[in-house]
């Protein structure tokens, strides 16, 4: 019974991705609805078979409105994960997985539409932020500034250098250069370009920070039993989790009062253990990873916390070429990620995970069977999944 209802990813859809302000002919909601409709079509399903919606990050594109736009006649379940930013991206997947596996829903669309040209630029000061009084009067206005002190402390504690941060940015760009749908597809990036770029908030330079873009992305989750009759190879959600260590609710985006042992981290140490235990696999089993790259330094932390190398070893790990497509042992962010493909709050990373397991990536890892995907790092909650080709 349990196996028949195992959650599977059967469809994915996305809009075009542009720099922020690039989509002016359609509303953010329309862009999101088109991605959702594309995902349902890709799955080989109809809107009549969709009975649930999940999103995150205070998504303004409500599930109730999405059901109207799609003409879904019978919604039985919906959910949104608390917390801003992309921390809840895989959290929304974990909600959908739980709904499908428990029988509360049969087919759920997980989506995110984010047109920063129409809503607001996440890199700008936000007076509505929780705890704003403790950050804005000091000029700690937005995520790049807020997460930079974690990266600084990480580099203070471990042998991590600017060249290691650079490698995350350069890897993303090299992969985006192979992905025609990536915003930065046509723009090369050299180490010299990286080092010569302006500081945003030390130790983060321009190319350490994710793009600000317009776009939407959606995936469809249903049971393994239903997935067997659908067109694409079956991709199972082995495990999807979301959660947080203590005090991260007023962590980097608040007042930086999380425990010292956890400070220079992506808030994933305990969550990673839960994830691997639930999935029944080890880090060495993972063929490729899509790691939330809002800021380069957090990717290094996640490589350690998800067990691909030891504490403090992520610099040496990436320096060895381990994360590069076509030669490294763990190619990461193979679509270009959020540094170079698009910033859809992590849903585009999940879409790339699906492409890898279907064998459709523009930086395809040969015979990829298992992929780790994370949600936004260094926030509460953060989230992650291991998905696998059955």
């Amino acid at each position: 019974m349990r196996k028949e209802r195992s959650a599977c990813l059967v469809g994915m859809g996305q809009s075009e991705y542009t720099r922020w302000g690039g989509i002016t002919d359609r509303s953010q909601f329309q862009v999101a609805a088109q991605a959702v409709a594309a995902a349902i079509e890709d799955a080989g399903l109809t809107a009549a078979e969709i009975d649930g919606f999940a999103s995150f990050s205070d998504d303004a594109n409500s599930g109730a409105q999405m059901a109207v736009a799609l003409g879904a006649p019978n919604i039985r379940w919906s959910s949104m994960v608390w917390g801003g930013g992309g921390g809840g991206s895989i959290g929304a997947l974990s909600q959908a997985t739980a709904a499908v596996e428990s029988g509360q829903a049969e087919a759920v669309v997980v989506y995110r539409g984010l047109c920063q040209g129409q809503s607001r630029r996440f890199g700008q000061a936000n007076p509505a932020r929780a705890g704003a009084s403790f950050v804005n009067p000091f000029g700690l206005f937005a995520p790049p500034y807020m997460l930079a002190p974690l990266v600084r402390r990480f580099m203070h504690r471990y042998p991590i250098t600017e060249l290691h941060l650079a490698e995350i940015a350069l890897n993303g760009r090299a992969n985006a250069n192979k992905n025609p749908k990536a915003v930065m597809h046509d723009k090369s990036l050299t180490l010299e370009d990286y080092l010569n770029a302006r500081w945003i908030s030390e130790p983060l330079r321009l190319y350490d920070c994710c793009l600000e873009t317009d776009g939407a992305c959606a995936v469809v989750v249903t049971t393994r039993e239903r997935a067997r009759d659908l067109p694409h190879p079956t991709i199972e959600v082995l495990a999807a989790v979301h959660g947080s260590g203590p005090q991260w609710g007023h962590g980097p985006l608040g007042s930086h009062n999380m425990p010292d042992a956890d400070y220079a981290s992506s808030n994933s140490r305990e969550l990673a253990k839960t994830l691997y235990a639930k999935a029944g696999v080890a880090p060495s089993d993972i063929d490729t990873a899509q790691i939330y790259d809002h800021f380069s330094g957090l990717v290094l932390m996640a490589l350690e916390e998800y067990g691909f190398c030891g504490p403090g070893e992520s610099g040496a790990f990436v320096e060895s070429g381990a994360i590069r497509w076509n030669s490294g042992k763990l190619p990461i962010n193979t679509s270009g990620g959020q540094l170079s493909e698009a910033y859809v709050h992590g849903m585009n990373l999940l879409a790339e995970g699906i492409r890898q397991l279907r064998g459709e990536s523009t930086a395809q890892v040969p015979n990829a069977r298992l992929c780790l995907v994370t949600g936004g790092l260094g926030v509460s909650p953060t989230s992650s999944a291991i998905i696998g080709r059955v």
């Binding site: 007076p127 804005n136 000091f138 608040g254 930086h256 220079a264």
Partner: protein, 141 residues
């Protein structure tokens, strides 16, 4: 003259944060502590995470702190800070009062001279209308 221009965002305390800023308006840096078990916590929050008491005291912080981490900001994401670039945002802790960290600015220092562990002392920045903001400068500045 305040450290940032007058259009810099000001504290807009919620009900749970009001006492912290009331003390700041009197040039007193005080952190919330649990009246029942003494646990310090920051930012102020309605309930003690150790004992669930909602009774609070406010404990005077030492005037000397240490840089726990920091960032040097070079990009103005709000027009008010353009004239101050680059400026230093520091996360400071208090060796004589462990348990809380404060976001603040480190002033009177070249950005290149900031280090984790740097000792710094409190000064009060008058931003007008009766409000003062706690900022820090190196102890030897």
């Amino acid at each position: 003259m305040s450290y940032f221009p007058a259009d810099m965002p000001r504290p807009e305390p919620t009900m749970d944060e009001a006492r912290f800023w009331d003390y700041c308006s009197k040039r007193s840096l005080r952190f919330q502590s649990c009246a029942h078990c003494g646990t310090l916590r920051h930012p102020p929050i309605a309930m003690c995470y150790r004992c669930h008491s909602c009774e609070t005291d406010y404990v005077e912080a030492p005037t000397e702190a240490e840089v726990y981490s920091y960032t040097v900001v070079h990009h103005a994401s709000h027009p008010a800070v353009a004239m101050r670039l680059p400026y230093v945002v520091a996360i400071v802790e208090f060796p004589k009062m462990p348990g809380v960290r404060l976001i603040t600015n480190l002033t009177d220092i070249d950005a290149g001279g900031v280090k984790i562990g740097l000792r710094c002392s409190l000064w009060w920045d008058d931003i007008g209308e009766g409000m003062f903001i706690p900022r820090f400068r190196p102890v030897d500045a």
